[in-house]
Assembly symmetry: C2
DNA sequence: TAAAGACTGTCGGTTTTCAGACAATGGGAG
DNA sequence: CTCCCATTGTCTGAAAACCGACAGTCTTTA
C-alpha cells in the first residue's frame, strides 16, 4: 500500500466505512499521482479511466466542455472521489477535473476495479455507496443553484464547499471571483451578499477566504427565506 | 410478474440492459401502485423505502423541503427510476416525489432489494448502473441550471425534459409557468425565450406544450455562447 | 525593505429581470 | 354548441444584476 495514503483516506469519506480488506485491496492497487496547480487531470469526453481520489490539495470540477476547459462548476478537497459514473458505465467523462492547488491524487484504474469486483462480487456494494455519495453531492449542488436570492445561493454554495473541503475552522479559501464563478453571480454581488451575511454574524470575510461562523444559521437561509 | 410492466420497463431505461434473470427477479418482487394527479409519492426526510420506477404518467421531483412540499425542480416520465440513493445508503430521502399526471409506479422495497443482492452479490453491479444513471441525470440538471442566459438555460432544460419524458414528436407538454418554475425564470422571460427559439426554427410553441424540432440546434446553444 | 501583483470594497450607468396586470386565445365541461 | 376557466402573449414600472472602473489593502517576490 502506498505510504501516507491510508491515514488520509481512512479518515475521510466513504472508504473509511468499508471493510478493512476492501480498503487494503483498493489502496494497494491504486497509483499515486501528483499534479501541479492548474494541471488538467481529465476532461470531458475522455474515455473512462477509473476512479480518482483526492489525497491532498483541491480540485476543480468543470462542466460544459466548451472545446476549451469549461466553466468552473464546483470544487472539492481530500476525501473526494470521482470518476465513478464513467468507470462504471464505461461512457465518456461527463465532467472535467483540474488541479486547483498542488494536488496528490490516487487513481484506481478501471481494469483493476473490475478485477477486484470479479474476485469478490460483494464488493460492488461499496462502489454503490461511492456512487450514492456522488449523487448526494450533485443534489446538494442543484439545491444551491436553484436558490434565486443571491444571499441564499451563496450561503448554500458555501456550505457545500465547506463540506467538500472541510477545515477545522470552517474556512473556505476561495477568492470572491471564484465564488462568483461557482454561484453564477458577478463579483460585485458576491461581495454584497458576503457583506450581508457578515452583518448577520454568519461568517467573516477574509483575504481570499471566508470563515463560516454559524453553520446552522447559514443552513436556515437555504430552505426558503 | 405484474402484467404490463415488463413490456414498458424492458423498453426503457437501465433495466433493459440487465440480464433477463435480473429483470424477472426485480419485476416479480415489485409492487405496482397507482397515484392520482398531485398525490405525494414520497417526500424529503422520509426514511428509505426502496426503489421507485415510473411505468406510466409523469412525476415531479421536488427539492428544498420547505416544511411544505418544496419547489418543483425536475420532471420525469416512464422508465425513470429513483430512490436509489436512499435505498442504498439507508439515509433519508433527499428529494420529494409527486404525481403530475395519473401515474402508475413500480416499487421494489428495500428489504426485497437487499434479499435479491444477498442471494447473488453480483447483482449489485446493476444497482450501480442505476445509480450512475441517476448521477448523469443530476449532472445534466446542474448543466442546465448553470446557464446564465435565459435562452440557453431554457434550451438545456427542454432537452433534459425531452430526455426524461420522451415523446415521438419531441413534444414537451408543460405550461410556460411550469417551465418557469423548473428553470427558475419568470413566466414572462420564459415566453420571450421560447419566442426567440421559435424564431430560430428550433421549436414550436403550442398550447401547454413545446415541440422541439431541432435537437442539435438546441444542443449547440447550451455549450457556450 | 521595497516594489509588484492580486484581491477587495465600492461606485455609476446600462441592461435585464421581476411582479403584476390586461386582453386574446385555447380547451374542457356541461 | 356555448360557457367558463386556464393559459398565452404582451406591456408597464420597479427592482436588481451586470459590466467596467477606481482606489485601497493584502500578499508575495525581488
Amino acid at each position: 500500500m502506498p505510504d501516507g495514503c491510508a491515514h488520509v483516506l481512512q479518515k475521510v469519506g466513504w472508504l473509511a466505512e468499508s471493510p478493512e480488506a476492501f480498503q487494503v485491496l483498493v489502496l494497494s492497487k491504486a497509483d499515486r499521482i501528483g499534479f501541479p496547480p492548474g494541471a488538467r487531470i481529465y476532461q470531458q469526453g475522455d474515455q473512462a479511466g477509473g476512479l480518482w481520489g483526492v489525497v491532498e490539495g483541491r480540485v476543480e470540477l468543470h462542466l460544459q466542455g466548451d472545446g476549451d476547459q469549461g466553466t468552473l462548476a464546483h470544487m472539492a478537497g481530500p476525501g473526494f472521489w470521482t470518476g465513478d459514473l464513467a468507470a462504471i458505465s464505461g461512457g465518456p467523462r461527463r465532467i472535467g477535473l483540474t488541479a486547483h492547488d498542488s494536488v496528490q491524487m490516487l487513481r484506481l484504474p478501471r481494469s483493476e476495479m473490475l478485477r477486484i469486483t470479479d474476485r469478490d462480487p460483494a464488493l460492488w456494494r461499496h462502489f454503490v455507496r461511492l456512487a450514492a455519495i456522488s449523487l448526494g453531492t450533485a443534489i446538494d449542488l442543484v439545491d444551491a443553484l436553484r436558490q434565486t436570492d443571491p444571499v441564499s445561493r451563496l450561503a448554500a454554495m458555501l456550505l457545500n464547499l465547506n463540506r467538500l473541503m472541510p477545515t477545522e475552522l470552517g474556512e473556505v479559501r476561495l477568492s470572491q471571483a471564484d465564488l462568483g464563478s461557482l454561484t453564477g453571480l458577478s463579483r460585485g454581488v458576491v461581495n454584497a451578499a458576503l457583506a450581508t451575511l457578515e452583518a448577520r454574524g454568519l461568517l467573516q470575510r477574509r483575504y481570499k477566504s471566508v470563515v463560516l461562523t454559524d453553520l446552522a444559521g447559514l443552513e436556515s437561509l437555504t430552505h426558503g427565506t
